[in-house]
Point group: C2
Chain length 409, copies 2
Amino acid sequence: MATVNKNFEKLASGYLFPEIARRTAVWQKSNPNADILRLGIGNTTEALPPAVCTAMHEKIDALSDRATYSGYGDEQGDTYLREELVRYYDRYGVCLQASEFFISDGAKSDAANLQDIFSTDNVVAVQDPAYPVYVDSNVVAGRTGLFDKNRGRYNGFVYLECSEENGFIPSPPKEKVDLIYLCSPNNPTGAVMTKEQLKGFVDYALENKSVIIFDSAYSEYITEEGYPRSIYEVEGAQKCAIEINSFSKSSGFTGVRLGWTIVPKALECEDAKAGLLNSLWNRRQCTFFNGASNIAQAGGFAALSGDGYQQSRDLIDYYMENARLIREGLERVGLTVYGGVNSPYIWAKAPNNMPSWDFFDLLLDSCHVVVTPGAGFGPAGEGFVRVSSYGHRENVEKAIASIEENLKI
Amino acid sequence: MATVNKNFEKLASGYLFPEIARRTAVWQKSNPNADILRLGIGNTTEALPPAVCTAMHEKIDALSDRATYSGYGDEQGDTYLREELVRYYDRYGVCLQASEFFISDGAKSDAANLQDIFSTDNVVAVQDPAYPVYVDSNVVAGRTGLFDKNRGRYNGFVYLECSEENGFIPSPPKEKVDLIYLCSPNNPTGAVMTKEQLKGFVDYALENKSVIIFDSAYSEYITEEGYPRSIYEVEGAQKCAIEINSFSKSSGFTGVRLGWTIVPKALECEDAKAGLLNSLWNRRQCTFFNGASNIAQAGGFAALSGDGYQQSRDLIDYYMENARLIREGLERVGLTVYGGVNSPYIWAKAPNNMPSWDFFDLLLDSCHVVVTPGAGFGPAGEGFVRVSSYGHRENVEKAIASIEENLKI
């Protein structure tokens, strides 16, 4: 008599983005002629870099010839790509080995799967608000009690509140925790951690033998000087942190699918000497995964170097110009906004203490603009919405014009 | 103080194929001039079907233009591909809906991840020998006790022995089990289940409210009439079975990465009414996965229909001719062989009661041929090796000639 994983029942609600899609579809049905302007999901909209396309075309040509065809690659990813990533980090003064890199089909999979190599009784700390995957994957794995509707939080988790008061950068937890998820530049708040702030977490982790899972998927969006792109720019971080990154946002690979995770050989924890966590993740990937698409890997290599890197930078500049337009437009209508400087996300405060989903509905209804309700990222996101700068320039301009014209606050 | 998932410690040994790669590399090092002939890992070697390449080139062209670019797709896969799969199954008289299909990056991931939606106290039955992923993923999830070295088996699993006596097709378990992994055509034995044999398992599952996880990754290799390609050809199977399949072996997508899983809406178990398991897998995929590569999906669509399907069939014919050459060659040197008729794998009995790994070493040493030791698939695989028909024809011919010339038994 097969029975199901009861932890799924604890999940508080449908995954955020499908829920937005559902609400938007319902609204579109009753307003069939309305032109919806989407600044919701962080989905890239501009063409792939030409050098990336060329490299992927060449890879397909290689696969179309038996002399150059290749099938299964290494589960950890192709060596040439892992070695290029070593050189990429070297630019920021971070020294890693190819065997510390694991290529995957994207940062979301890794962010969700990494918890697999840790004990289910580990106490997890997450930023609040946070990308829902950190929370939901740990709920499914059984690291929480029930969802407490009054607090809007899961029992058993430690929440690190990100608020206007702390500039959306929390301090390390007061209590002892085992796993800490950090994201900088942050999704959804757009806040970016200084080296000093990151060092606070690294010191905490070293002292408490905790492991930090650091999501740097937006590192290429840092435009101001002095912010670390990798947690390994902080001394000692290789002993206590795993880093996740992706080609999705830096080179438009959201649909192509490619990411990477770094598990340093130096990483250790309470019952794992240096080397063990690297080999556990290796074993996990060899058992549960069969490597990323070789076509995507060829594209990823091209995105890291030469013309492909410059073309990727141009893509980011395009989205960051959108971010500027959104930020300034929202400020003009009198909204308080954060982020959008070292991040593609603008974190906008709903007017008049309005709840997130009400502001979502108001923007959809009156301006035909879709954003992401902050409450979907955790209770501390209540009262905010995330506005994404991914979109064609003309649509972003239309959306901002529509908000300026139609939003009554 | 972070601690690790101790279940990893139970894993009896390194994953089989990395271990073969390691042994082969060591041997190559001491025999640098030897030309190793690989009939080990089931890795495709022939060019991708031209129609698949055309479709993927076209998709990249679409991604290189902002007017036709697309980013994140649905986590469940693109609708056009799911609908094409509905039509593919319809050819075999199997009626399914698009919402019952989940496109993934390959059958290995799904085979490993499906256990996630079931309770950790479910009792798992596997064929012995079996593809190691079924076993290892459940060990990591904590569904076993320790590995018993004397029996060569994990405590807590139920093993369904596949032997010469039962034609490598086991009967349903005598005891009650909750999850049953079945693979037909079988990897590694090459045995294929009749409808009657499959029906025995479906009846067992319906009676005991068990769930069958049916791996049909080699279904396109069935050449003889009367064997079901899908478990859903058996009446009632939609109530008790999940099916996994892949483009890897049918169309050479081992490196491109694309597969699918079917969780019927009718599927139920002890505490899950019809519909719940479908929605649990949907939730799991939406949380832990971000969809398969859109380039691979475009290729997969082309592989299912028109020229692409015929070209895929031609690929299979090519490998099956290899299978015939291997089977007949091994028979000529006096080995007892099974499989290779409805499957790309030949299951060869080691001579003189030799253990699998000894026969592996003998074939490598004396013939320079790499095969896969049967013991790597479970203790009942001891005394056999799996010979793969994936390879260039000229290499297969060389390998068989070398065995005929050099193998002394």
